[in-house]
């Protein structure tokens, strides 16, 4: 099926959603997703972060769709034309979505353990406005313990339902869910019952914000001071493929491996996540690839140093060829070949 997203046409399988098609093109075109989570069935359609504009419904019926559609649950049709980042209407709508998601968010990022790998942080940084217009009191909840490993900060929750799907699809029985309605709805275990099953820790990984956090990692360190390392072990319950987060020589956190979109590749069990925190428990594969723009790669000089374009351009403009005609015989130096400079400098415009 042919579909055009942001003027880029590609062929996709029938039944693909617009979001997945856009992800095939790349991260520049892919709409942000807060609630959609590919490994979990039935997710999506709740947060409205991925709204896109469909300017032509299909080849047969090229009329535009009357409203913006959520791209994660809308399937592509032959000849569909989608506008994501090139449509001002979509960007304005997303600004509104950020504002709504942040209405009750406490914005306690300096305290929150998720800061630095938080999807809501990224989303509001890229699409939100700097100031809030909200003046009323934000809703507040007490902190809640989900057993010995997981802590719930309901104030930070954006009700994406991902953790509920994890409990439904990975574990034999679900003991938590969303209570009440509207503004009062909250994730809870009803009578403060502990969530204890083998795979409950995956709730932490799928949570796009810092609502569900690892108690064994609580306030241990900031994400950008830890080093992610890929490792595996023989685990009878799960695949055992994880990312270890080091502070010095100490493993302070274990998470599942995540792909480019922040989705867990393979869910891991609680044993791997919470109990095995020694290097000797694991077989180290190597350091994880960290995106250059990520804060996790901050403070590491050298290879990932980005050179700003302006000084490079300026250097290219002002570069003057050395006068090779002058007498250098007495200086005892070799003239540096021209090619060595040309490689370093970008072409002048």
């Amino acid at each position: 099926m042919k579909v055009t997203i942001d003027n880029i046409t590609l062929d996709v399988e029938p039944g693909t959603s617009i979001l997945q098609a856009a992800r095939q093109i790349g991260p520049e075109v892919a709409p942000p997703a807060m609630c959609y989570y590919e490994p979990l069935k039935g997710t999506g359609g709740k947060c409205r972060a991925c709204l896109v504009k469909v300017t032509a419904g299909s080849e047969k019926d090229p009329r535009p769709m009357p409203k913006l559609v959520p791209s994660c649950i809308t399937q592509v049709q032959e000849g569909m034309v989608v506008e994501n980042t090139i449509s001002q209407q979509v960007l304005d709508a997303r600004k509104g979505v950020v504002e709504f998601l942040l209405i009750n968010h406490p914005l306690d990022c300096p305290i929150c353990d998720q800061a630095g790998e938080c999807h809501l942080q990224d989303f509001s940084y890229e699409h939100g406005s700097v100031q809030t217009r909200y003046e009323e009191d934000r809703r507040t909840f007490e902190k809640e313990d989900f057993g010995p490993y997981i802590q719930l900060h309901m104030t930070r929750c954006i009700l994406c339902y991902r953790c509920v799907y994890v409990a439904d699809q990975l574990t034999p029985e679900r003991v938590h869910g969303v209570m009440n309605r509207g503004d009062h709805s909250e994730i809870s275990t009803y009578i403060a019952k502990a969530v204890d099953n083998e795979f409950s820790g995956n709730m932490i990984d799928v949570c796009p914000v810092g609502a569900l956090t690892d108690k064994t990692y609580r306030f241990k360190n900031r994400v950008w001071f830890t080093k992610p390392v890929e490792a595996h072990r023989d685990c009878p319950k799960c695949s055992g493929k994880v990312t270890l987060w080091y502070r010095g020589d100490e493993v302070i956190r274990v998470t599942g491996r995540k792909n480019q979109w922040g989705e867990v590749l393979e869910f891991i069990c609680n044993d791997c996540r919470f109990e095995k925190k020694k290097t000797s428990d694991w077989v180290i594969e190597g350091p994880s690839a960290v995106k250059r723009a990520s804060v996790i790669s901050a403070n590491k000089y050298g290879a990932n140093l980005t050179k700003p374009s302006f000084p490079l351009k300026q250097a290219a403009l002002e570069y003057k060829k050395l006068d090779e005609g002058r007498d250098t015989s007495q200086l005892g130096i070799q003239p540096v070949p021209q090619e060595r400079f040309e490689k370093l400098l970008p072409p002048a415009e």
Binding site: I111, F219, W224, F225, N299
Partner: protein, 172 residues
């Protein structure tokens, strides 16, 4: 050979009687000396007296407390990641029940250390701080240290004293 026009030609003629008496020359010299007694002194008696360094001088670090005396720092680590010299390190801890009068937020810095040999007083930590906790005082130099173990400053030296609060121009 004359290189510049600034050099004076020496007058090698015989001195007159008035010149040989030296009195007018000595009086002239003394008058210059005495006139300097009545001018404004360019020097100050440091360290008893100190000069005003301006409102944006970056001196000794301070970890501010809020109006109720609670520490503002929440150990978010942004100062440490902003620090180009990697001088700041911290260990965070969770506030316990009954400590609400000591720390403003749920999390606080149990250890906060500035390595003063590394610090270059650039003020980026001050800019990065979301909680208005760390400041470089505009009116205080870092005292000199003579021993290696005086170099790393912990919270005992950094946290603001409520009896002697640090205030800056423009603050309430």
């Amino acid at each position: 050979m004359q290189l510049t026009n600034r050099s004076k030609k020496i007058d090698k003629r015989e001195m007159t009687l008035a010149e040989r008496l030296y009195i007018p020359a000595v009086t002239k010299g003394l008058a210059i000396t005495i006139s300097h007694f009545f001018r404004k002194k360019p020097t100050i008696q440091y360290p008893e007296q100190k000069r005003y360094l301006g409102p944006i001088f970056r001196g000794q670090h301070i970890l501010k407390r809020d109006e109720q005396g609670r520490e503002r720092c929440t150990a978010c680590g942004l100062c440490a990641v902003a620090c180009p010299a990697e001088a700041i390190s911290m260990v965070s801890a969770e506030r316990k029940k009954g400590e609400e009068h000591l720390y403003r937020e749920e999390k606080y810095a149990a250890v906060y250390e500035v390595n003063q040999l590394r610090c270059i007083f650039c003020g980026l930590c001050e800019e990065a701080c979301p909680k208005e906790a760390i400041y470089l005082q505009h009116d205080k130099f870092l005292p000199a240290f003579t021993e290696r173990d005086e170099v790393i400053w912990g919270k005992d030296k950094l946290v603001e004293n409520m009896d002697n609060r640090y205030l800056r121009e423009g603050w309430k």
